[in-house]
């Protein structure tokens, strides 16, 4: 998700091409081409400019409804609704071809889903398969202590800085609940990153942006990435 304001001008974007299986958009105002996954302008008068990221989540609809009961939802366009992806689109996408070169000694397969995180210029890919087994995962990236949380459906991921009042917390899953506990204070935390009970009740962890991506795509845009 990107802000459409660049240098005080609001741009309108159109799908206009594809670059190694990630799409290119063209802005009406200058005709420049922008890479969807990176927000970087790759050709045209605005080449080199970077769109401002708007942090987003990928969530099951039920979870989002609970968190945002007054939100609004994009409606289908009835003229093309028949062309929308089927309910099992994730399985179908996982079988699609990959056309960019891949390394045979890579531990990950090109279409493995990873959670990509960049902090202070350091990039790391957290394989979904590993997160499903181990989340919440505590790590330190670019000097920042992080925690990566999974929701109850094990599909959605959020990452937070896990330092509160100068102390790095270590989180574990609370038994039988879609909540988390920190070992240091015993407070209970939700997937939103907010403590709901215990000594830290009411505190909110700082969000860190995550990108759910295929391994091959993450690697193209972060060639020096580490892998968790």
């Amino acid at each position: 998700m990107w802000e459409r304001n660049v240098d005080g001008r609001t741009l309108n974007f159109h799908l206009s091409g594809i670059n190694n299986q990630n799409f290119i958009m063209r802005d009406e105002q200058t005709g420049s081409w922008w890479q969807q996954v990176s927000g970087l302008c790759i050709a045209g008068p605005l080449k080199g400019k970077q769109l401002q990221l708007v942090a987003h989540d990928e969530l099951p609809f039920a979870l989002w409804k609970r968190e945002q009961p007054t939100g609004r939802v994009l409606m289908p366009d009835e003229r093309v609704a028949a062309k929308y992806e089927p309910a099992d689109w994730e399985e179908q996408y996982a079988r699609l071809r990959v056309v960019t070169p891949t390394s045979p000694d890579d531990a990950l397969k090109p279409r493995d889903l990873v959670i990509g995180i960049t902090v202070n210029g350091a990039a790391k890919a957290y394989p979904m398969a590993k997160l499903e087994q181990q989340a919440p995962v505590a790590d330190t990236l670019g000097g920042a202590p992080l925690v990566v949380l999974l929701d109850a459906s094990k599909k959605s991921v959020r990452a937070f800085e896990r330092t509160v009042d100068g102390r790095a917390l270590s989180f574990s899953l609370k038994q039988g609940a879609a909540q988390f506990t920190d070992a240091e204070t015993g407070s209970t935390w939700e997937f939103t990153g907010r403590a709901v009970s215990g000594p830290l009740a009411g505190r909110q962890l700082r969000r860190v942006n995550v990108l759910k991506d295929y391994w091959f795509d993450w690697k193209i845009y972060h060639p020096d990435t580490a892998v968790y």
Partner: protein, 174 residues
């Protein structure tokens, strides 16, 4: 004065070979301007930065290049019209049709033929969103307390949806 006598008074073109060659070159060049980027930025193919750059430049100049091509084709056809009989004249007309088609194509976005854009996106309240199931994945943002969900099954088709959320113009992309 009959049409035939008027025709006989106008001289046949002197440089008809040269004109035919020019016609052919215009047709090949404008066809290449349109076809090369389509070929280079095909889905399920790998692209290099150089291929992208070539495609960008060709797409950028194709509207004016094809318009000039059409103009040149019409001019050369007028010049050549007296040269020959119906067979070659049919070829001339076809070349004009091709030039017109290319000029039109240069102004089209075939990616938006495949994936229709959503210039006026409509939204429903959470409780009215019966078109999304509880387990469907949605992309969500919250800006200045305004929360919006974009169902991924729709986003994976449209790819780009423009919106203004909490006063901020954004592009939801997938």
């Amino acid at each position: 004065m009959t049409a035939a006598s008027s025709a006989s008074r106008r001289p046949r073109p002197k440089h008809s070979r040269l004109a035919w060659l020019a016609l052919l070159l215009v047709a090949v060049a404008t066809l290449a301007v349109i076809a090369i980027p389509v070929y280079l930025i095909m889905p399920f193919k790998s692209q290099t930065p150089r291929a992208l750059d070539i495609s960008f430049q060709l797409k950028r100049w194709s509207p004016s290049a094809t318009a000039l091509g059409l103009l040149a084709t019409v001019a050369l056809t007028i010049y050549l019209w007296r040269c020959c009989r119906w067979f070659k004249r049919t070829v001339l007309v076809l070349l004009i049709a091709l030039a017109a088609l290319l000029t039109w194509l240069a102004r089209q976005n075939h990616f938006e033929w495949m994936f229709h854009p959503l210039p006026a996106a409509a939204f429903a309240k959470v409780d009215d969103a019966t078109f999304v199931t509880d387990t469907d994945q949605v992309m969500t943002i919250t800006v200045n307390d305004e929360a919006v969900a974009y169902p991924i099954r729709q986003m994976a088709y449209h790819h780009v949806v423009e919106d203004t959320v909490g006063g901020v113009p954004i592009a939801a992309t997938y």
